[in-house]
C-alpha cells in the first residue's frame, strides 16, 4: 500500500503515536516516517522529557514552546535550558539565576535541599554579617523607642549609621 502522507512511496513503516492517551496509527514510507519522528521529538512526551521527569511534569518543552515566542538563552554565555538538559552542565554562573525556578525540582531530587548552609567566601561573609548586624540593631532601636529609652535609641541609631557608611565605602 502507499504511504498515507505523501501517497507516492510504498508504506513500509507502521507509525503509532500516542498523545494525551489518544492513539493514532499511520502507514508511512521511511522518508515520511523520519520526518514525523523528528517532529515528534518536539512534541509533549519525547525522550528529552524523560529527563524532565526528574525536573517535574509541567516543565516540558511543550509548555515552553507555547508561551515563549523565541528561544530563551542565558545572556552571559548563551546556553539554553535545553542545552543544559542534554549535556547536564551549565555554561556560567548566570545560568543558575536565569534558570533557578526550573532548576529547583532537580536540585530537590539531587540533594534534597535547596539552601546552602556551608562555607561562605570571606568578603560575602563580611557583608552578610554586616546586614545581619544592621537588622539586629534596628530591632533594638525600635524596642528602645517603644520603651521610651531615647538615649539608648540614639546610640543604636549612631551605630547603624556607622555600619551603613562602612558598607557604602567598601
Amino acid at each position: 500500500m502507499l504511504c498515507q502522507n505523501c501517497q507516492k512511496r510504498v508504506a513500509n513503516v507502521h507509525f503509532t503515536q500516542i498523545v494525551n492517551n489518544k492513539k493514532s496509527e499511520m502507514y508511512l514510507c521511511s522518508i515520511c516516517a523520519n520526518e514525523k519522528e523528528q517532529l515528534s521529538m518536539v512534541s509533549p512526551f519525547s525522550i528529552n522529557d524523560f529527563f524532565s521527569g526528574l525536573i517535574g511534569v509541567g516543565n516540558s518543552n511543550y509548555t515552553e514552546d507555547n508561551t515563549l515566542p523565541q528561544k530563551v538563552v542565558c545572556e552571559k554565555c548563551g546556553m539554553s535550558y535545553e542545552e543544559f538538559r542534554s549535556i547536564g552542565r551549565f555554561g556560567c554562573d548566570n545560568c543558575y539565576s536565569k534558570y533557578y525556578e526550573k532548576l529547583k525540582p532537580l536540585l530537590k531530587r539531587l540533594h534534597g535541599n535547596l539552601e546552602h548552609t556551608g562555607k561562605i567566601p570571606a568578603d560575602i561573609y563580611k557583608s552578610i554579617n554586616t546586614s545581619r548586624e544592621i537588622e539586629r540593631l534596628k530591632e533594638q532601636l525600635n524596642k528602645a523607642v517603644q520603651n521610651e529609652e531615647y538615649e539608648k535609641a540614639a546610640e543604636y541609631r549612631d551605630k547603624i549609621r556607622a555600619f551603613e557608611i562602612n558598607v557604602e565605602n567598601s
Binding site: 552542565r89 535541599n113 546552602h116 562555607k119 561562605i120
Partner: protein, 353 residues
C-alpha cells in the same frame, strides 16, 4: 620527604586513604562548557600568579601548611609524555579526563603529592587533598586553607542561596566530595559486601572502585563518598562519611576475626599461598597482582605475615600499575612485558624490605 601513600595513617588495617575535593569556579568567566581558549589561558595564568606568589599567604594557614604551600609546583600537562600523564592518574592526583583534555589546563601539586590542584578540568579549580588512613578532617582542613587562600586573591562564583556555583549541579553548594578508600577482603569473601553496598546507597553514599567513577572494585578496594553537596555544612558531610566509614570498618574487622576463629588454617593457607606466588612468580597480570596484594595485605593486617610492612605494600600497590611500571622501565611495554616487570618489581621490593 615520603610520598603520602607510603605513610600509614589511623585505622590503616582497613582504611587506605582519605580524600577531600573542592570544586570552585571564578566569577568573571564562563564555565568549562562555554569557555574560549583565551579565557582558559587567562584562568590558568590567574591561578598560577595567585598560587606562586607564596609570600602573601594569609595568617590562617598553620606553620605546617605554609611549608607545604611553599613546595607546591606547577606541572604543564601538555609537556608530559603518555606514560607520565598516566602515572598522575594512577597516583590519584588527576582524573583520566584531565590528561586527555584538549583544554588549556594546568596542575599544581605539592612535592609530597598530598595536595593536587587541577585548573580547567570540569570546573575552573579542583582542589584535592589526600591523607593516608582515616583522616578526612585533616584533608578538609588543608583544602579549607588552600581555598581560603585563593579566595583572598580571586573571586569565586558564589550565590547566597546555592553556594559555590559549579559546572554540574551535582557539585553545587559546598562543592565538596569527601571519600574514603577501604580494603574490605572479609566483607567480599563472606559475600556481605552486597548488603553493605546497598545500605550505603540508601544512606546517600556512593560506592566506587579504586579509580573512581566507572572503575570496578579490584583487589577488594572500595571508595565511599558523599553524594549530597548542597544543604549540608562541610562538617556535616565529613561527620556522615566518617560515621558510615567507621561502621563499615567495624564490620570488616569483626568479620576478619570470625573468619580467623572459624577456620584459622584455611585463612592462613589462603594468605600464605598468595604470599608464595606474590614473592616468587615470574609473571603476574594486573588482576592477579591486585588479588595477591589484597590477600597479602590481609595477612599483614591480621598479623599472619610479619616480615613485610604496610608501607611496602602501599608502595608496591602503586608501582605495579601499568604506567608506573613503564616509567620504571623507561619505555612503553606491551602487556606480556608488563606482567613480567610487575613480578620483578614485587620481588625486588620484597627483597629490600
Amino acid at each position: 620527604m615520603t610520598q603520602w601513600y607510603i605513610e600509614n595513617g589511623p585505622e590503616s588495617d582497613v582504611v587506605i586513604s582519605s580524600r577531600v575535593r573542592l570544586a570552585r569556579n571564578f566569577e568573571s568567566y564562563p564555565f568549562s562548557s562555554k569557555m574560549e581558549k583565551e579565557q582558559e589561558d587567562k584562568v590558568l595564568s590567574k591561578v598560577k600568579n595567585a598560587m606562586m606568589n607564596v609570600n602573601g599567604i594569609i595568617n590562617d594557614i598553620s606553620k605546617d601548611d605554609k611549608s607545604i604551600m611553599r613546595d607546591v609546583i606547577f606541572v604543564d600537562i601538555k609537556n608530559l609524555d603518555v606514560i607520565e600523564k598516566q602515572v598522575l592518574v594512577e597516583k590519584h592526583l588527576v582524573s583520566p579526563e584531565f590528561v586527555e583534555s584538549e583544554r588549556i589546563n594546568g596542575l599544581l601539586i605539592s612535592k609530597d603529592e598530598r595536595i593536587s590542584i587541577m585548573v580547567n578540568e570540569e570546573d575552573h579549580l579542583r582542589i584535592q587533598c589526600l591523607f593516608p588512613g582515616m583522616q578526612i578532617q585533616n584533608a578538609w582542613k588543608l583544602c579549607d586553607s588552600i581555598d581560603s587562600f585563593i579566595d583572598s586573591k580571586l573571586k569565586f562564583a558564589f550565590s547566597k542561596e546555592l553556594g559555590y556555583l559549579t559546572c554540574c549541579p551535582t557539585n553545587l553548594g559546598t562543592g565538596m566530595r569527601a571519600s574514603v578508600m577501604l580494603h574490605l577482603p572479609a566483607l567480599a569473601i563472606t559475600g556481605y559486601i552486597r548488603g553493605m553496598l546497598d545500605a550505603c546507597s540508601k544512606l546517600g553514599v556512593a560506592v566506587r572502585g579504586l579509580y573512581g567513577e566507572n572503575s570496578e572494585a579490584s583487589g577488594n578496594m572500595f571508595q565511599i563518598s558523599n553524594q549530597v553537596t548542597l544543604g549540608l555544612t562541610e562538617e556535616e558531610i565529613i561527620t556522615n562519611i566518617t560515621n558510615i566509614a567507621f561502621q563499615v570498618v567495624e564490620q570488616e574487622r569483626s568479620l576478619r576475626k570470625d573468619l580467623f576463629k572459624q577456620n584459622s588454617f584455611r585463612l592462613n593457607d589462603m594468605v600464605f599461598r598468595s604470599y608464595g606466588i606474590f614473592s616468587n612468580a615470574r609473571i603476574i597480570s594486573s588482576d592477579e597482582g591486585m588479588k595477591l596484594l589484597s590477600d597479602v595485605r590481609l595477612g599483614i593486617d591480621m598479623g599472619i605475615i610479619t616480615d613485610i610492612t604496610l608501607e611496602t605494600i602501599n608502595e608496591i600497590m602503586l608501582l605495579i600499575q601499568p604506567a608506573n611500571l613503564q616509567k620504571l622501565a623507561g619505555r612503553l611495554l606491551n602487556q606480556d612485558e608488563r606482567d613480567i616487570m610487575r613480578a620483578e618489581v614485587i620481588r625486588g621490593k620484597l627483597a629490600k624490605a
